[in-house]
């Protein structure tokens, strides 16, 4: 029979993995859902929107359980504050995915096909940035030296996202067939998606400080 300390610790480790896998899974779903939207398959899009909702709820539940475990079982007392912050920041990324999907669903932006590829590219940059953040976090818990190998990729994808977003916004505003209100609506979406990469970058900036604190 395993003692309660060992059980709590193993359980927490598994739940952390599950939480991070959830964030990673949400990225894949986010890509698929936006693809469905661009292709006009609204039925499939709505299904994925609901799935995203479920993932977000599951993420929230896991975060609460983990926070509860960390405090009641006094796990990793010296890094608890950092781990809690990391959890909340990762959860915010998941929330951002969901918020983008819901904005698509509520506002139904009319994005001309000529911008779809740029949007797809912007989405891929954001998802990749988040994916690298997830890998950095996993390394933080497992093999701290490995974390840096993923963290620089986050910066790369965030920069890529900035480039694509700037290019896309220029193209939007230089298009003479669109009304200004239309242009601003599409631009808002581009900026909202671009923020995913920015937030991922903020997470790894804090993560690098947690790593310095943990390195003995």
């Amino acid at each position: 029979m395993k003692s309660s300390i060992l059980k709590d610790s193993e359980e927490t480790g598994k739940q952390f993995d599950e939480f991070l896998d959830n964030v990673s899974g949400a990225g894949v779903l986010f890509g698929e859902a936006t693809d469905d939207y661009f292709e006009g398959d609204l039925e499939a899009f709505e299904k994925k929107r609901d799935k995203m909702n479920d993932l977000e709820h599951r993420g929230d539940a896991l975060r609460r359980t983990l926070e509860h475990l960390l405090y009641t079982k006094t796990l990793v007392p010296e890094s608890r504050g950092d781990v809690m912050e990391l959890l909340e920041n990762m959860d915010a990324l998941l929330d951002h995915y969901k918020a983008v999907i819901w904005r698509f669903d509520i506002e139904h932006p009319d994005i001309p096909p000529e911008f779809h590829d740029d949007f797809r590219e912007l989405i891929v940059s954001g998802v990749n940035a988040v994916e690298s953040t997830v890998l950095s976090c996993k390394a933080f818990f497992r093999e701290i030296d490995e974390a840096c190998n993923h963290m620089h990729k986050v910066i790369f994808w965030e920069t890529e996202g900035d480039i694509v977003s700037t290019r896309l916004q220029k193209r939007i505003f230089r298009n003479e067939s669109l009304r200004l209100s239309h242009k601003r609506h599409i631009r808002d979406f581009a900026k909202f998606i671009e923020k995913i990469g920015d937030e991922a970058e903020d997470v790894i900036d804090r993560l690098s400080i947690y790593i310095i604190k943990r390195v003995m």
Partner: protein, 492 residues
């Protein structure tokens, strides 16, 4: 009456539990890796076990430093140590009972004119310097090893958290056992020569010597100190004095425990001696010194910037002040106890240069020509006899000790009443028969009676490889010394 006098030792035990337990589990509880309840239970149990099972080694050294041979004297010595530790704790210096008790015994020695065994004193004081240095070295080595292990086995954060918790529990248990084994001598050591207890057998499974019974009581006092008062100190050690990570806490507690164990283990001493290696003296060292040394070790390893040297200086001053303060309190209290309360705080020990003693000294190969000139002389105290011996320039320090032991005047008469009062369960039939054969005989030195007994039967002889038998035999001999010494007084 004995229990009343023992109360000062129990007070000392309580303060040991309240303060020194923090060195063992403080960092673990302070960093919330282990709950106080769990730490208190584990610490109490293992302190008692350490005291009873392995407490004998260091108490022998304390005994050598000065045999406090009267109960009231032992009471004052323990009280002086407890008060000095208490005062230093109130002022805020982390000190140990080791320094208090040694200072208090020196105070007793000075007051009673008993000879201070400078060999033992030097051994103890040098161990106080060696202890933090050794702890620092151990913590540096252990820390390096732990870091290599963590990197090699790629231990993940939560697994490391679990392993650290287990490590802290095991280190704490080991530390508590070592603390009990090493420091019980501080609490109960001075009462051992005046203990009224006899060896007892517990349901025929194992037996407890008189000293072990005393150590058990002292262990309980320490445990009460841990349960009632150590929480605050543990929180201070764990969070207030220094901020160290759980892994560092684990390393420091291990280094501390290893050092305490090294200075308390009779088994290790035997092993080193049997392999021709230099042995570590069995002396009661300070657990505070060990933990401070271990933390400084980690601090130095990390570049030394995190160490608050001002605090370290303050602690060092406390280590020097405590024994001096204890000696002073002991000396003044003994004066009051003797002159105001009319209590016997020591039994005067006389020395007589008898023909038998000279013969024994000569047989040992020590030139005794100058001693022959003193034949029949009596010396009222060890200091006076020692001064007389100093004039015999050819004597070495070891020779002096042997001469003192051979000439100690302790008149005993073996009487029928005394023999009949012996417990038949404690003394064997054979041993009692030997005593009956010697009935009516008078001895003026302790060794004479021991030689007479050993000459008649092996049941009174030291056995080469039976440490337990020898320890029990020592207890029995001490008992009959007292018994027939008293009989001798009745005869007068």
């Amino acid at each position: 009456m004995f229990l009343f006098f023992l109360s000062s030792g129990l007070f000392l035990g309580w303060s040991l539990g309240a303060n020194d337990a923090a060195n063992v589990f403080g960092t673990a509880v302070g960093s919330r890796m282990i709950t106080f309840k769990r730490a208190a239970v584990l610490c109490s149990v293992f302190v008692i076990l350490g005291a009873v099972i392995s407490g004998a080694g260091t108490s022998d050294t304390i005994g050598k430093l000065g045999t406090v041979n009267a109960l009231a004297g032992a009471f004052i010595v323990a009280l002086a140590a407890a008060i000095s530790v208490y005062i230093m704790t109130v002022i805020g210096y982390p000190v140990s009972t080791s320094q208090g008790i040694i200072g208090a015994i020196i105070g007793w020695n000075l007051f009673t004119g008993t000879l201070i065994d400078y060999t033992s004193l030097t051994k103890i004081v040098s161990s106080w310097v060696a202890c933090p240095i050794l702890a620092a070295i151990f913590s540096i080595i252990l820390y390096k090893l732990v870091v290599i292990c963590i990197k090699t086995f790629n231990v993940r954060m939560f697994k490391l958290d679990t392993l650290t918790r287990y490590g802290l529990i095991i280190a704490g248990i080991f530390g508590a056992y070592s603390l009990g084994a090493n420091n019980i001598a501080n609490v109960m050591g001075v009462f051992v020569p005046v203990s009224p207890f006899r060896d007892i057998s517990v349901m025929g499974i194992f037996s407890l010597t008189s000293a072990q019974q005393l150590f058990f009581i002292g262990g309980i006092a320490i445990a009460i100190g841990i349960i009632t008062y150590s929480k605050r100190v543990m929180m201070t050690v764990g969070t207030g004095i220094m901020k160290i990570s759980p892994v560092s806490a684990f390393v420091t507690v291990w280094a501390h425990s290893i050092v305490l164990f090294l200075f308390a283990s009779q088994g290790l001493e035997r092993f080193l001696i049997s392999h021709g290696l230099p042995s570590i003296p069995l002396v009661p060292v300070s657990s505070s010194q060990a933990i401070v040394g271990a933390v400084i070790g980690i601090g130095l390893l990390k570049g030394g910037k995190g160490i608050r040297w001002k605090t370290v200086r303050g602690i060092s001053v406390g280590w020097v002040t405590t024994p001096l303060l204890a000696a002073l309190i002991s000396f003044i209290s003994l004066f009051f106890f003797q002159n105001v309360f009319q209590q016997q705080i020591y039994k005067p020990v006389e020395y007589i240069v008898s023909a038998e003693a000279i013969e024994r000294i000569e047989n040992k190969g020590i030139p005794a020509n100058e001693l022959k000139g003193m034949l029949g002389n009596k010396f009222p105290s060890a200091v006076q006899f020692n001064n007389a011996l100093k004039e015999c320039s050819f004597l070495r320090h070891d020779d002096t000790n042997f001469i003192m032991e051979s000439t100690e005047h302790y008149k005993m008469k073996i009487t029928d009443t005394g023999i009949r009062s012996l417990d038949a369960e404690w003394f064997t039939e054979e041993q009692i028969k030997v005593l009956e054969k010697l009935e009516g005989q008078v001895f003026i030195h302790k060794w004479m009676m021991e030689e007479a007994l050993a000459g008649i039967s092996p049941s009174w002889r030291i056995k080469k490889d039976d440490k337990l038998f020898n320890r029990r035999l020592k207890g029995k001999i001490a008992h009959i010394h007292d018994l027939f010494h008293a009989s001798e007084f009745f005869m007068r």
